[in-house]
Amino acid sequence: MKNVVLGWCRTGAPCPGDIQQTVRGPLTIVSLTSRRALTPRARMHQQVCCFEAGMNLLPVAPRTMFHLNEAMSLETSKNLILLEKLEKISGFGQLTLRLTSPQIEVPKVLQSEQWLRERQRIRVREEDRKKSLENTIRQLTFGSTQHSRVIHHAAGGIAVCHLLVPTDDQAKVKDRICSQATTAAQSLQSLYITGPWPAYAFADYCQAETERAHA
């Protein structure tokens, strides 16, 4: 049975017992039998186990299935790029925040001209809401560049923010975000904080994703 790659770590890093390590110079390929890593969520779960066991893991995107033989045939130059990427996220974990702002009331307007004007007003308000969420994120994450941030916006006043935080600081950062949220973030409806995750959002090397496009 083919092994599925979970990611890469530095050679000699601590590793849970059932994970297979394949040494390729300074990099080690971390893999698992495909039977235990069949679904994206199963792969993610295994990556989280490695990360929680203290491994600095450069994770493969869980949505993709990358086999060990493919990883072993990577050229040295590619391994060096992966090593460089791994060094950048070593000692860090990812906290992911999901913020929502209050819903915009949409009045029922039947006449076409009014409907158009209303749509325009909603668009402006959506833009304001987006800016307000970005400000809130800046407030919550201390407005500093100490922690790298990646922000994604979804429709309907939802923003997702990924923070790269040193492993030792994570509890402190979580507490600080919560206390700031209760006082500073008046415009927030909800705040979800999850983590620490392996640094998925900061390990993106190539943005070629396996996706399902619904026609």
Binding site: P62, I81, A185, I193, Y205, E211
Partner: protein
């Protein structure tokens, strides 16, 4: 307005049925190193076309050198 706040560890987020956390985890599944990608074109949950994409892993500088 009361702020709804929740903290979840990765294990909790992976095991929950809460739609908001499920969405969050689903978003994370796309992140990470991708060396080979593909696109499934689907109509009414029936897979019709698979488009395979092989990705060149290189530095932006090297890529620019190769293009010129």
């Amino acid at each position: 307005m009361a702020l709804e706040m929740q903290m979840a560890s990765p294990s909790e987020a992976l095991g929950t049925g809460d739609g908001r956390l499920v969405d969050l985890v689903d978003g994370l599944l796309n992140h990470g190193v991708v060396l080979r990608g593909g696109l499934w074109l689907t109509v009414a949950d029936v897979d019709l076309v698979f488009l395979g994409v092989d990705v060149v892993l290189t530095t932006p500088q090297k890529m620019l050198e190769l293009r010129t």
